[in-house]
């Protein structure tokens, strides 16, 4: 049994409510920070797409293969996000 059925007290409910509220604020802050990281991330992605054509992409453990130029994905027009 992973959870033994029990009744939550008012104090517990209030504590959960407070923590969930704080978590919402924390999540919003993370989204803000990650949006601000976009220019750096774009650079990292460009470098990654270059490396996988020259050094290769990891397939399994130490096995790598070089990606052909025509396989390189194109950035879609939709908004790009990393936090979901």
């Amino acid at each position: 049994m992973k959870l033994i059925p029990h009744t939550r007290s008012r104090e517990v409910e209030a504590w959960l409510k407070r923590e969930i509220k704080e978590q919402k604020a924390r999540y919003a802050e993370i989204v803000r920070e990650q949006d601000a990281l976009s220019p750096k991330r774009d650079k990292w992605i460009a470098e990654f797409l270059e490396r996988i054509q020259t050094r290769g992409v990891h397939v399994h453990y130490d096995q790598m293969r070089k990606v052909r130029p025509e396989e390189i994905p194109v950035k879609p027009k939709r908004k790009f996000k990393v936090v979901f």
Partner: protein
């Protein structure tokens, strides 16, 4: 919505709070890392103040405790850094104390934190599942044994494995100058906390000591690198499979659909047996779409994947 995607979060940036939930003794502090908004299960960094004492007691939900620094005493035995406990719901833990204080990580699964003083197990407790191990002294690093595997230099110690869900809790390390050039996602939720060291991921940047993430399924992460190496603790809720690829811009829906398509390729019998409704010919974004009717295995709401279509004859106008 269960737990949101918390990544990255560094607990060094926030202060400890006093644990005020009913039942918990004074002298315990915490930093909330993530919480399930439905059932209250959560992951926390905790500090037991010097002189902390906790009578024998149980929790309504199962929990895991990992000691990072200092030591605790459980019964007559002293447990230092690297000690790991898995305590099933309702199992009474002996008196616990920390004469000089300790810090650790506390994970409550399936329900909110609770403590009920009791020197006996609850009638529904599964005592045989209790586990305690000194992971630093009594376990050795192994390679990951996944296929496909992470790059050389990522090693693990499996602390707990759930045979039913295949979810597991593990220590992992990256050796200095570790790098892995691909993008990964999993069918499981994954969370991790950096006990020591900094690693880098192409999406999120640096994750330093005290860094944490809770990542729901199908979210891209990687490439990966670590200059000086790291030591971390991680957990999954179900089987961890590395869906590797190299498209930085795919989203959760595309990744999930690709994973479903892969199940179709790997386990066609199972896939056909499972009765799915709605959109039942998932697409792998690395391959042709296959949306033309009849190109991909599908059914019409009746679970009959193997069927034939009559060719429609077009009438000439």
């Amino acid at each position: 919505m269960a737990r949101p995607h918390i990544e990255p979060f560094v607990d060094r940036d926030v202060s400890f709070k006093k644990m005020t939930l009913p039942g918990f003794p004074k002298g315990m502090q915490y930093k909330m890392l993530s919480m399930d908004t439905d059932d209250g299960s959560c992951s926390m960094t905790v500090a037991f103040m010097p002189g902390y004492k906790q009578p024998p007691g149980m929790s309504y939900s199962e929990y895991e405790l990992f000691i990072q620094s200092g030591s605790i005493k459980v019964g007559d035995k002293v447990w230092g850094p690297g000690s790991y406990f898995y305590v099933p719901a309702g199992v009474s833990l002996e008196e616990m104390s920390s004469p000089r204080g300790a810090t650790g990580l506390l994970f409550y699964n399936y329900g909110e934190p609770s403590f009920v003083e009791s020197d006996a197990d609850h009638s529904k407790a599964e005592r045989h599942r209790f586990a305690a191990v000194d992971s630093y002294e009594n376990m050795q690093w192994t390679s990951t044994n996944f296929f496909p595997a992470t790059a050389p230099g990522c090693l693990v110690k499996i602390l707990r494995f759930d045979p039913r869900t295949q979810g597991f809790t593990f220590l992992y390390c990256m050796t200095p100058n570790f790098w892995q050039d691909n993008i990964s996602y999993h069918d499981c939720s994954e969370e991790a906390y950096h006990i020591w060291g900094t690693s880098w991921m192409m999406q999120f940047g640096d994750l330093p000591t005290g860094g944490y993430f809770y990542r729901p399924p199908y979210i891209n992460h990687g490439a990966f690198a670590s200059k000086l190496g790291i030591l971390a603790i991680g957990r999954t809720d179900t089987q961890l499979y590395n869906h590797f690829h190299f498209n930085p811009w795919t989203n959760v829906e595309e990744n999930r659909e690709r994973a479903a398509n892969r199940i179709l390729q790997w386990k066609p019998e199972l896939y056909q047996w499972i009765n799915m409704h709605g959109h039942n010919h998932p697409v792998d974004f690395e391959y042709d779409h296959g949306h033309a009717h009849g190109d991909a295995a599908h059914h019409h709401g009746d679970g009959q994947v193997e069927h034939k279509h009559k060719k429609k004859t077009r009438r000439k106008k």
